[in-house]
């Protein structure tokens, strides 16, 4: 019913003001038509269907009918053609009608002036503001002319002023209403635009997020590395397809499982290491290689940033390094084999030369003695190169082991002196060895590796120093460290070189390699050994004055377990 009424009333147009005014006109027309119908019905009842009607009643009856027809006509015009024309016609008809209903005198003396307010008020509601102003102005002029032109009648000035006031107020209110509606519409439009903008932004953001999520999902699904996300309770909440293959179990047996439950094919001692990686206090950031079933997996674990996505927990990434581990094992074996095969004949050369040198087969002539000495020195150099290569291979393979035994610092430097003392003497360098009295006479460490460090540093010092001295000093550095210092009076090391002197296969002046011998492994090995021993190496150098390498090592107090 309401919908039907709405359809009857509304006139769809593009101009919202026009549409509003035309709807209002329709309501006014329907009101008038209803009033006319009521009038007709009442007349028919009173005059028994016009049989006893007076001429006045007949006049009224036709008046009502004409009014009804006019209302229908105006409704038609309003709906199909122009609201302004229909409204203007209605207002004019009303004005004319009112003018004829009353005697001009009655207008002039003010009695029916108020009636004239009806078309003016209607105009302010039904017509655009400028037209309602024109209607009000025209009516005012007509009334003024009528009032002033009649003889013998004094115009009712007060009523006229009231009428003008009504006209002005009507026009102003019509205009005000129009303006207010325009502003409301403006606000509405702006609001609507904002809503649209916001909707578009949201849609785009949602789309971006979905794209991102899809992308992440695709990456997770297609990468070769296995990924498992564990929630705060340590249960697997996300697992990608790759991890199923790596752990050799279906997704259903991964999701919901803890890391303990996933480790049934891992050796017990490795399980401990893996669990440590998962503990909240884990500091290890390097991946851990674990034998997992038939594979070697490299496992890295990182905490999920809580707060960012509102989730805590950890993410574990599994990478299949079975082949790499196999290659590395093979490399270690090959290096060990090669070094064994190299060492045995070298050892024979050195040993046989020493047999001659020591006069086992008779005393040697002076030149023979010197020659044999040279053979032995060069064999030792070759031997130390082989050892450096083996060490480097072991460092790279991570198989270098450091001992912790009791040793005497003086025996340590004696062994070093035996190897390098001759070299210093050959070059005419002063070779000084000092052990501070404050240093304990027994220390804990790996004497063989410590000797290697000293030999490498001293060898370098002798190699690069042409005149002056090379000195070794052992002393207690502070309460928890002791130090080995190797100082020379050589050319010094430029500051720019300090960054890479510990790199493998590198010498400061690569053209010098030939002159000084060596393949640039010495300092690299020293650095790695010192690091494995949890020590530190420092360099202080002045160009043209010499260099001093200081190796700081933790002072371990010999416990009873070491006194064997």
């Amino acid at each position: 019913m309401t919908v039907f009424w709405q359809q009857l009333i509304t006139v769809p147009t593009t101009d919202p003001d026009d549409s509003r005014r035309r709807s209002l006109l329709n309501i006014v027309l329907f009101t008038f038509a209803t009033l006319a119908v009521i009038g007709i019905v009442l007349l028919l009842l009173r005059t028994r269907v016009l049989t006893g009607a007076s001429s006045e009643e007949l006049f009224a009856f036709y008046g009502y009918v004409i009014f009804l027809v006019l209302a229908a006509g105006l409704y038609f015009v309003n709906r199909n053609w122009s609201g302004t024309v229909a409204s203007l016609t209605l207002v004019m008809l009303l004005s004319v009608l009112l003018a004829f209903v009353d005697d001009p005198r009655e207008i002039a003396d003010g009695r029916s002036l108020v009636v004239f307010a009806i078309p003016v008020v209607l105009a302010s509601v039904l017509l655009p503001a400028y037209l309602s102003f024109i209607v009000a102005a025209v009516c005012s002029v007509v009334i003024t002319v009528v009032a002033l032109s009649l003889p013998n009648v004094s115009p009712n000035t007060f009523a006229m002023v009231v009428y003008f006031a009504i006209a002005v107020v009507s026009w102003l209110s019509g205009r005000g209403l129009e303006q207010a509606l325009r502003e409301v519409r403006g606000l509405n439009n702006e609001l609507e635009k904002r809503v649209q903008d916001r909707t578009r932004d949201l849609r785009e953001a949602l789309f971006r997020e979905q794209t991102e999520a899809r992308k992440n999902h695709t990456i997770l699904q297609s990468i070769a590395d296995g990924v498992i996300v564990f929630d705060e309770l340590g249960r697997a909440s996300v697992a990608n397809p790759a991890v199923n293959g790596l752990l050799e179990r279906p997704e259903s047996r991964i999701l919901g499982a803890t890391i303990d439950q996933l480790m049934d094919t891992v050796a017990a001692e490795n399980q401990v290491e893996v669990k440590e990686l998962f503990s909240p206090t884990a500091v290890q950031s390097v991946p851990l290689n674990v034998e997992w079933g038939g594979r070697t997996l490299s496992l890295s674990v990182a905490p999920l940033q809580a707060g960012q996505a509102g989730v805590g927990g950890t993410v574990a990434v599994f990478r299949d390094v079975t082949r790499e581990a196999e290659v590395s094992r093979m490399k270690s074996i090959i290096v060990a084999m090669v070094s064994h095969e190299l060492r045995t004949p070298l050892n024979a050369v050195q040993g046989l030369a020493e047999v001659l040198q020591q006069g086992v087969y008779g005393r040697l002539a002076d030149k023979q003695q010197v020659t044999i000495d040279r053979i032995i020195i060069n064999t030792k150099r070759l031997m130390s190169l082989v050892r450096d290569l083996l060490d480097q291979a072991q460092i790279e393979a991570g198989t270098l082991k450091i001992e912790s035994v009791l040793f005497s610092p003086s025996e340590l430097v004696d062994a070093v002196r035996e190897v390098v003392g001759g070299l210093a003497k050959d070059k005419g360098l002063q070779f000084l060895v000092t052990i501070d009295e404050a240093l304990p006479s027994t220390l804990v460490g790996d004497p063989q590796r410590l000797g290697q460090i000293l030999i490498n540093l001293t060898n370098n010092a002798i190699k690069f120093t042409e005149t002056g001295s090379v000195s070794i000093r052992l002393y207690q550095f502070d309460l928890v460290h002791w130090a080995m210092e190797v100082a020379d009076t050589g050319p010094g090391i430029p500051i720019s070189a300090e960054a890479y002197i510990y790199d493998a296969f590198r010498q400061i002046d690569s053209s010098g390699s030939r002159r000084h011998g060596g393949i640039g492994l010495g300092l690299s090995i020293v650095k790695r050994l010192v690091t494995v021993m949890e020590g530190d190496i420092k360099l202080s150098s002045r160009l043209g004055r010499g260099s001093t390498f200081t190796v700081l090592l933790p002072l371990v107090h010999p416990g009873p377990h070491l006194l064997t």
Partner: protein, 122 residues
């Protein structure tokens, strides 16, 4: 006075010459065996004062010979110097042998170390 016996078990003939010369220089009479199987057989009937033992041997390996020496009562007084090129397998033997030397082993080093055992009866 008869020189005490030192048996050298080393498959490399040149190196075994060096070892033999070293123990002789230290005062031992030396005998060289080039493979593990022969060494085991020889040790069944003889208890030398000193055994210089290479680990990488054809036939029976050095660590099995070392175990044999440690198990047999008649070999209880034998001093064993292990000569190894591989420091990892050498480390596993500390405590089982009198000395574990890592190759390269110099003539002088072995002569001086073997010399310690010439007078030491235990």
């Amino acid at each position: 006075m008869e020189r005490p016996l030192a048996i050298i078990v080393e498959d490399d003939p040149d190196l075994s010459t060096v070892f033999a010369e070293a123990v002789q220089a230290a005062g031992f009479a030396s005998e060289t065996i080039y493979n593990g199987t022969a060494a085991l057989k020889r040790l069944e009937g003889t208890a030398p004062r000193l055994l210089v033992l290479d680990l990488h041997l054809p036939g029976v390996t050095g660590d099995r010979i070392l175990d044999f020496v440690n198990e047999q009562p008649h070999l209880a007084g034998v001093q064993v110097i292990v000569a190894s090129a591989d420091d990892r397998s050498a480390q596993a033997l500390y405590g089982k042998a009198s000395l574990v030397l890592l190759k390269p082993i110099s003539f002088i080093q072995l002569r001086d170390l073997a010399g310690r055992f010439i007078t030491n009866e235990g």
